[in-house]
Amino acid sequence: MKGTPAYEALGQALDAQRERLLPCVHCGFCLPACPTYNRLGNEADSPRGRLHLMQAVVEGRLEPSSEAFRTHIDRCLGCRACEPVCPSGVEYGTLLELARETATQAVPPGLPTRFLLKVLGTPVLRIPFFFIGRLLRGTGFAALGATVLPSYGPFRAVRLGLAMLASTRRWQPMDSKESMTGIADSGSLDISQKSRVAVLLGCVQEGLFRRINSATVRVLEANGYEVVTVEGQDCCGALHAHGGDLESARTLARSNIRAFEASGADLIAVNAAGCGATMKDYGILLEEDPDFAQRAKEVASSVRDVSEILDSSGLRTGASVPCKIAYDHPCHLLHAQGVEHAPITVLKAVPDAEVHVVAGAEECCGGAGIYGITHPELGGLIGGDKVSAVRACSADAVATPNPGCMMQIGAGLRLEASNEGVIHPVELLDESYRRAGFYRAGGAE
């Protein structure tokens, strides 16, 4: 309610962003880049429209609790495709997070969202949560549920969730029965030149895609990097920030900053685009925190997507893995981090891998957290278009360096009974190195 301390605090949060909102000259260049505007044709579902609503809240013309404000801010995928095309350099991603914070403080989000964010941000809850997930996956229950459950009403969300879970299975050609660890042969690489790298394990990644984390460590080591362990690292806070729970995001950020500072690493390798984007923005997230502002900036400046690290110093060539791969850009790598070619370079470093960039790869897959569940129709439209584009490649597998995208595309393929595999680019490189005999056998995976 206007006039209450809570309202004053809200106004101030966005008010402080007046500087960030001012550069918007209302030119509309962002409209054609926006997946929701392209499909709905409604100005309120465009970046310009959303910024206008934020401006209206700041000016006091609109209540943050207003249904209009919340609906259209919610409907944004957060893909940030609008940022690269903005001639004024408006920091839409940051403003969206603040708008979401304002909106969720006025009206808290629904139970599913609150539950998920709580679980992901708390290791004690997270570990059993993903254990159950792996169980449902491993027993085939998830796959069964995705096939037999109907698609309407309450079942729709459950079916989608199970499909996403089932899709996280390893792609068969990558299925090495041997467990591997360590490097048998580092070739002629000069290790002393390379940096010490810490790897962010993440929450979803470690919970459902541990194989990607292991592959990440291996390929870095195979290319001569020293990988250091990081005690006390946590979920990066991306989903919390995207969802507007900036306080939790900040708490998680502080834990990670302490942990990565202590690790002594020169670079932080991230293999999840969403996490990489958030960590590179830690400086902005904690800009108001006098104790952490500077530290956050420094840690943020050492964050790289793993493909950026691999691409920067010449990739080692492994053995042939003949396959056709469709590559899709994660929004948080292409738009938010501006990384376009590095992951494709990683894929192309594999002999006999034929790599095609999916048509419309710059458009969001519709993953966006739990968008598919909160916005089933629109999410279905956007996701459906992505799946069609992927299938049009007639590839053996689709590669995309972000777990959320992998699950969204994977679920979509599965629900269309299409059997492309879904991988992270480092998995292919890792397989190529394995076949080339770069690794020692034995040890835990």
């Binding site: 918007c24 209302h26 030119c27 962002c30 609109l62 209009a68 004024s88």
Partner: protein, 481 residues
């Protein structure tokens, strides 16, 4: 306070387009209160988003039969307030009508709906070796319907002409929802008057174009792009005069001045211009590959003869993008150095450019306002950008006065008040600088032929008798209610 629509009208509209495409919630209508010219804002009574000619016709019929004014809107990127609503108006938006209906490669024609984005038409016809020539700077987002309404130009209209040259036929919805065909390739053009030519540039005041027949051009063999850095706008201008006088026919000639370069260099788009740069000149030639180096050499010579600090030539498509960067990012970069911006759009005979630019400089100094100029030097179309902060009441008035002086200066030099942005609401008060009462009455008479009850976009283009004497700042404040 905007008066809501009667509920019967709302439900009838919902029957035509579907309830999700009728917006009546005042909070949701806020995003439609401005187009690209944010100095003016007023939320409409409603917004309707039809998806076909028939839907547009039915919506217009319904609204007009209830005496409700229709305000057409495309992408809302216009710079003259053409899509600003009247107090009683309902916006009919074409954003959902985004299909290209037909590409006739043999006859080099396309038929498109008004919501098709300008650049997307070129993208769609490129595979056939064709493209759509008019390239306004907003082409990545502006729509064809808007281009028709404003008779849009763009840098390459120097050689290739404006929208009116490429629109060969129209399906329009007129007053009362009447669907009419105008023109069309293959018909005797003399069976009637050039109604297509009259409709193009009518700024949404005559009706809504729902299908646009467009002439396409073949993609040229090659292109050469040059960037000349000069110490002053004057020397850059002299280089342009030399180039045009030499009989060369460049495809585009653009200049950005010192303050603009400053803004670009201060922004994220910094292109590394030298500090002494007082003006940057972009010249482009296209056509038969064999002749292009010759043209570029001659242009380069003209630049050097007029004292260019350096002349760069693009060696590949990526380099070409880089050379254009200052020009293309200029508008956006302005947004970073001042809270508010007023963009003008006067055109003067090209030979008068140097004196007009000096005059604008003088006006800026006298009013203490920073003015950054971006212009289509080849055809004398200027865009002075006046930078200000609307929070300062005083500054608003100064901007208004400076604006008026700039207009007068351009008209006195034999020019006109708008070259491509249109009159809209923003330049109505200047119409009397270039038109007498008889001409204005003739335009009003033409409008009455198409829209006798004045239910399409009233309050645009032609000045109101009562409106005389209102200052822009008063208008802005009034619009804010």
């Amino acid at each position: 306070m905007t008066r809501p629509l009667p509920s019967t009208v709302v439900s009838d509209l919902a029957e035509i387009v579907g309830h999700e495409h009728v917006i009546t919630d005042p909070e949701r209508l806020l995003v439609y209160e401005s187009d690209g010219l944010t100095a003016y804002r007023r939320p409409p009574r409603a917004v309707v988003l039809p998806s076909s000619t028939e839907e547009i016709s039915a919506v217009v019929e319904l609204l007009h039969s209830n005496g409700i004014e229709v305000i057409p809107r495309g992408a809302g990127t216009g710079l003259s307030g053409g899509a600003l609503t009247t107090p009683e108006g309902v916006i009919v938006g074409t954003a959902r009508m985004n299909r290209i209906l037909k590409i006739d490669v043999e006859n080099r024609l396309a038929i498109a709906q008004p919501g098709v984005i300008n650049a997307r038409l070129t993208e769609a016809t490129n595979p056939y070796g064709l493209y759509y020539a008019p390239d306004p700077s907003s082409q990545s987002t502006c729509t064809l319907g808007g281009n028709v309404a404003e008779n849009s130009g763009g840098p390459h209209c120097l050689k290739y002409g404006v929208t009116a040259r490429y629109v060969t036929g129209l399906t329009v919805v007129l007053a009362g929802g009447r669907i009419v065909q105008l023109g069309g390739v293959g018909r005797d053009p003399y069976s009637t008057l050039d109604l297509v030519g009259l409709f193009v540039g009518s700024e949404g005041c005559f009706g809504i174009a729902t299908e646009i027949e467009i002439r396409l051009l073949p993609i040229t063999e090659g292109v050469r792009t040059l960037l000349g850095i000069f110490e002053s706008v004057e020397s850059a201008g002299r280089a342009v005069t030399k180039i045009m006088a030499s009989g060369l026919m460049p495809a585009a000639v653009e200049i950005v001045d010192g303050p603009t370069i400053e803004a670009v260099e201060a922004s994220v788009f910094a292109a590394g211009y030298p500090l002494e740069a007082g003006a940057a000149l972009v010249i482009e030639f296209d056509g038969t590959e064999a002749g292009l180096d010759l043209d570029a050499d001659r242009a380069e010579k003209c630049c050097l003869e007029e004292g260019a600090i350096e002349v760069q030539r693009a060696t590949d498509p990526e380099h070409r993008v880089k050379l254009w960067r200052a020009r293309k990012k200029a508008f956006g970069a302005m947004g970073r150095i001042a809270p508010d911006l007023l963009v003008q759009d006067a055109t003067v005979p090209r030979t008068k450019l140097p004196e007009v630019l000096a005059g604008i400089d003088d006006i800026g100094n006298r009013y203490g306002l920073k003015i950054a100029n971006v212009f289509h030097a080849g055809d004398g179309n200027l865009h002075p950008n006046i930078l200000f902060d609307r929070q300062n009441q005083n500054e608003l008035e100064l901007v208004e006065l400076a604006s008026k002086e700039i207009m007068q200066l351009c008209v006195d030099a034999g020019g006109t008040i708008t070259g491509e942005h249109g009159v809209g609401v923003d330049k109505r008060e200047y119409m009397t600088l270039v038109h007498g009462p008889a001409e204005l009455e003739a335009m009003a008479a033409a409008k009455r032929v198409f829209d006798p009850a004045s239910l399409f976009n009233p309050g645009k283009v032609l000045p109101d008798v009562e409106g005389e004497g209102t200052t822009k700042s008063e208008k802005i404040l009034a619009m804010g209610e």
